[in-house]
Amino acid sequence: MHEGPLAASFRDPSGFVFNHEGVLYRQVNQVYAGHYAELVGTGLCSRLQEAGLLIRHEEVDPPVAPDAAHHLTLRPDPVAFVSFPYEWCFGQLREAALLTLRIQREALAAGMTLKDASAYNVQFRGGEPVFIDTLSFERREEGAPWVAYGQFCRHFLAPLVLMSLSDVRLGRLLALHVDGVPLDLASALLPRRAWLRPALFAHLWLHARYQRRHASDADPEVARRRSLSRKQLENLVASLEGAVRRLEWDPQGTEWADYYDGDSYGDEGFAAKRDRVAAHLDAIAPETVWDLGANTGVFSRIAAERCDRVVSFDVDPACVERNFRQAREEGDKQILPLLLDLTNPSPGIGWANRERPPIFERGRPDAILALALIHHLAISNNVPLTRVSRFLADATDHLVIEFVPKADPKVKVLLASRADVFPDYTQEGFEAAFAPDWEVLDAAALSGSERTLYRMRRRR
């Protein structure tokens, strides 16, 4: 027996996803057989896969005895690291939205439709979004409206508009509302100027009014009588596409996005740091690296030259945005930039807190880079160094970590307006705090600064 459907795989009766011996499979149920045949038979599936829009899969023999509902077993290409929409920057959510609309357009042209438009159906391979739910396609009945239109507005349009016109941090609302931002909430939060855009007025404000007005309609005929031609649905998709394309958010003026510009080392010191980090990574030879506090991903790129996959985390939406744009421009498939507040990482959300698992349960990297990070945890957030050590030791076996002392200009800024209640925040204190969990393999001062770079290995 396999371990049963994954915790997130329970809504759609068309099938489910399960793990068997570390490999991900998707069971297609008999009830979906006709739609699957249509998806493949119309050539839609291969067209989308060849264009890189839909995840590739192979039809395989079931790895374990299937249940009575079984029709087929698929083995989709693996996704290196599963991320969720509340961990994406504005640009990532926007690309995911445009991908979903493009797929709906292609589906309509093939006589099919997306029966859901959840942001969780999209994952990222580097800068490229890919649709992962092969069972989202359904043969379209003539005249049928787009069932997933409301879901698209909640999962994509509402958060994007809030991020673009109100505040980029409102993207985090997606972590509170697992089926997307309610449209009445978005309408209440948006500035009035949003309604000067006819598309936003219609898709959000008017949409929210209609939802409220018809919320208690018990007569199914009210909805059933509405008939939309394919052309009309194409217009609807084009309208959404235009609205999304017009949304912009430019990364500037936040805390860290300009960090490297006014840097702490000087050019020579920074080059030396890059070389040392590279040498440490060469010594570790990891396949996967997490770069915590990655800023715009300078060191993530050094890691990506030496390993398969890098997840590049930062707390600042502007840094993640810049990192993502660079990944897209370079056609990168290795670096996944994600938004992460290490002092409050993504928790488990959804049904039983298991549907969307916490971020640190979604993978274990071979190595972690923690550069110019420790002072933010220990001083800005008062986390004792022993806990930082324990936390990192739970997450990985190899660590490249930079200690930033109180004499450093960046730390002086952090201490400028508060009492120094950190008597143990010294290089000796740092080494003592990490000693129970970590064996130091290398330690060297970074030229041009008072900082020290360590390579450590977790004690068994």
Partner: protein
Amino acid sequence: MFGVILYIDAGTGSIIIQGLIAAFAGAAVTARLYWSRIKRTFGRGATKPDEAEQDAPSDA
């Protein structure tokens, strides 16, 4: 063979509003198409009609 598997709630309000928007978007496409033809007739048409069609619905 084609069991309908609409497992999410489309929402009556969402169904009605999308019909209105789709109709309005269609009208906007037509209006733009005619407008670009008029402009072309008077020799000011820098926009090709198919481009107008691409742009139009987003104003719905």
